[in-house]
């Protein structure tokens, strides 16, 4: 038989088996299945388990109970079953706006980040001077704390003294100043633009790393075959970065869909709910309106979306880790 299953599976080198013969006790089938490292293995995981149970599973289970109550902040409330969920899904027009906003915000932001990130990666994948320096410099929006980015852009979008209006007026692109964040027509778009600015370097750097891992002889072979730049992009570059692109896009989708800070700090969800997302709406209902049971139900409605996205992402990440 040789190596126990668990070792063979992990691809442990044969030297490992030869190195420690003294620890190879006769295996019963149970010990074989659990593995001889089990006691220490589980012991080292205890602190992690405490965090997982104490700060994730238990709070979520506890909060699920609260989402079934008509409960105000700080007091007990009556059990109303799925009442909060039913109200949200059938009766709450604001919640419908929130869902629409979240979808538009996520789709537009992630698409924009992918496009600007891809172009950034393609530029930096060329032979240019000071490439490392430019890569570091272009990472700035992603490195800067989000609250700083949000406040700075809020200032730049200012309706009366904002520099964006100043520049656009001087370039004669607009005739009158626009209150970007105070008008429902422009607010969501303005927040999305800031979010793209903040997030595209993440894609740029990740995609650049993937592009640099593509063997140069693939491009040489394409050149020999007389491929155009576009053909090389579609047939060599894109297949080479596919996994990275999928992983970064999924991660970014999860984070963008669950964003709080950028909207909260730039518009507070306004004007008139035009920019509210799940998290900002739950915050408003729970902490400004004190309806904590209802607010909990709002965050819990994120869960189905989230589970689908994580299920899609998990095998991709496992694959990229193995590559």
């Amino acid at each position: 038989m040789g190596a126990p299953d668990c070792l063979r599976q992990s691809g442990a080198p044969a030297t490992y088996l030869m190195a420690a013969p003294s620890t190879r006790v006769p295996q019963t089938s149970l010990a074989k299945r659990i593995g001889r490292d089990a006691p220490l293995g589980y012991a080292l995981l205890i602190p992690l388990m405490l965090v997982a149970f104490g700060l994730l599973m238990y709070p979520i289970a506890n909060a699920f109970g609260i989402s079934l109550q008509d409960r105000m902040l700080g007091v007990q409330g009556p059990f109303i079953g799925l009442g909060n969920y039913i109200e949200l899904l059938t009766d709450d027009r604001r919640f419908r706006t929130v869902v629409t906003n979240s979808l538009v915000f996520t789709l537009a932001s992630v698409t924009g980040k992918i496009i600007f990130g891809m172009v950034m990666a393609l530029i930096l994948n060329q032979r240019i001077r000071f490439r490392g320096m430019f890569r570091g410099w272009l990472l700035f929006p992603w490195v800067a704390p989000t609250f700083v980015t949000a406040l700075t852009w809020r200032w730049m979008y200012d309706g009366t003294a904002g520099v964006i209006n100043y520049v656009l007026l001087n370039l004669k692109l607009i005739d009158v100043p626009i209150a970007w964040l105070a008008e429902s027509a422009t607010a969501l778009g303005a927040v999305v633009a800031t979010n793209i600015w903040r997030g595209f370097p993440f894609f740029g750097v990740a995609l650049l790393a993937a592009m640099q891992a593509i063997p140069a002889d693939l491009y040489e072979a394409a050149d020999v075959d007389g491929a155009t730049a576009l053909q090389k992009f579609l047939n060599v570059t894109l297949p080479g970065i596919r996994t990275t692109l999928a992983v970064t896009a999924m991660l970014s989708t999860i984070w963008t869909f669950n964003d709080f800070q950028i909207v909260f700090l730039m518009t507070g969800g306004g004007p008139a709910y035009a920019t509210h997302l799940f998290a900002t709406y739950a915050y408003k209902v729970g902490f400004e309106g004190s309806r904590i049971g209802y607010a909990t139900a709002i965050s819990f409605l994120l869960a189905p979306v989230l589970i689908v996205m994580i299920m899609a992402l998990s095998p991709l990440i496992m694959r990229s880790e193995n590559e």
Binding site: I34, L44, V51, L55, I123, L138, T149, Y166, W197
Partner: protein, 280 residues
């Protein structure tokens, strides 16, 4: 017509032109932030010479450091960042060693569930955590933040170190075991010294993620003397008049440490990206 002219240009010029646009778009907000921080409240609203560096003063920095709670917030942020990252690093090191090197029933499934833990977003967790922290009577204490930040720092450190530990050749560990080293001895004498860059990077990423965290801090530490920087800055702007000069000065002070830390670990940023990081 413009497109045609653009196409006629040689490749290199187009390439550098595009790069220049990127550099400009990325740098401009930073430039304008610095400029605003160096102006009086009156000049901030002055449209003459909005983009040129004239009439600059340093007063805003003096005001922010001298007559606001900024120094308290910085202290709070540093304390929370260091404590939560240090705890997460210890928990993450133990877990990552177990998952990377020891073989036992369920280890692969457990490694995968670390990733799940990491992907549970704060927008789903903030109310459940708030309720637990309130039950424990820890609201309005910095321990509320140190505790709740483990929800993202622990899975992050574990996942990142798991990848790092796997790159260390098994042969080194085998050799030490032959010489009579125990499993924990191997961790202390072989794995940890060799992983020093990984440990430093994990710590710095955790620290910056804690430094930037807003939502948990906004609901759990609301008393002014307990605020961290992001929440503290937000309180600059609830007042009727937004003091943009001071706000931008404070924002720059809050960004500087993060920038310095990132420069230290720039080489590892790409690895950190695959391990994930709070923003995206």
């Amino acid at each position: 017509m413009m497109m045609k002219r653009l196409r006629a240009l040689p490749n290199r010029i187009r390439l550098y032109g595009l790069l220049a646009v990127y550099v400009l778009v990325v740098s401009f907000p930073f430039y304008y932030m610095v400029l605003t921080s160096l102006r009086t409240q009156k000049d901030v609203y002055n449209k003459e010479g909005m983009l040129t560096p004239v009439n600059l003063i340093l007063d805003n920095y003096g005001i922010v450091l001298g007559s606001t709670n900024m120094t308290t917030w910085v202290t709070n942020s540093v304390f929370v960042g260091v404590a939560s990252s240090a705890i997460a690093l210890v928990i993450g090191t133990l877990a990552a060693y177990s998952l990377a090197r020891l073989r036992f029933f369920g280890s692969n499934a457990l490694a995968r569930s670390v990733l799940f833990m990491y992907l549970v977003p704060s927008s789903l967790l903030f109310i459940p955590l708030y309720l637990i922290i309130a039950n424990l009577g820890l609201l309005n204490s910095l321990w509320a933040l140190i505790l709740t930040y483990q929800t993202f720092n622990v899975p992050f450190c574990t996942w990142m170190l798991l990848g790092y530990f796997r790159t260390i050749p098994m042969e080194l560990e085998d050799a030490a075991r032959i010489d009579g080293c125990s499993r924990l001895g191997v961790l202390g004498r072989i794995i940890l010294p060799l992983s020093a860059p990984g440990l430093v990077t994990a710590f710095i990423f955790s620290f910056t993620n804690s430094w930037n965290e807003f939502l948990y801090a906004a609901v759990m530490a609301t008393r002014s003397e307990l605020k961290t920087i992001p929440v503290g800055l937000y309180s600059f702007q609830i007042a009727d008049i937004l003091l943009w000069g001071q706000l931008m000065a404070a924002a720059i002070l809050a960004t500087a440490p993060v920038l310095v830390l990132y420069m230290l670990v720039q080489r590892f940023v790409v690895q950190g990206l695959t391990a994930g990081s709070v923003k995206g």
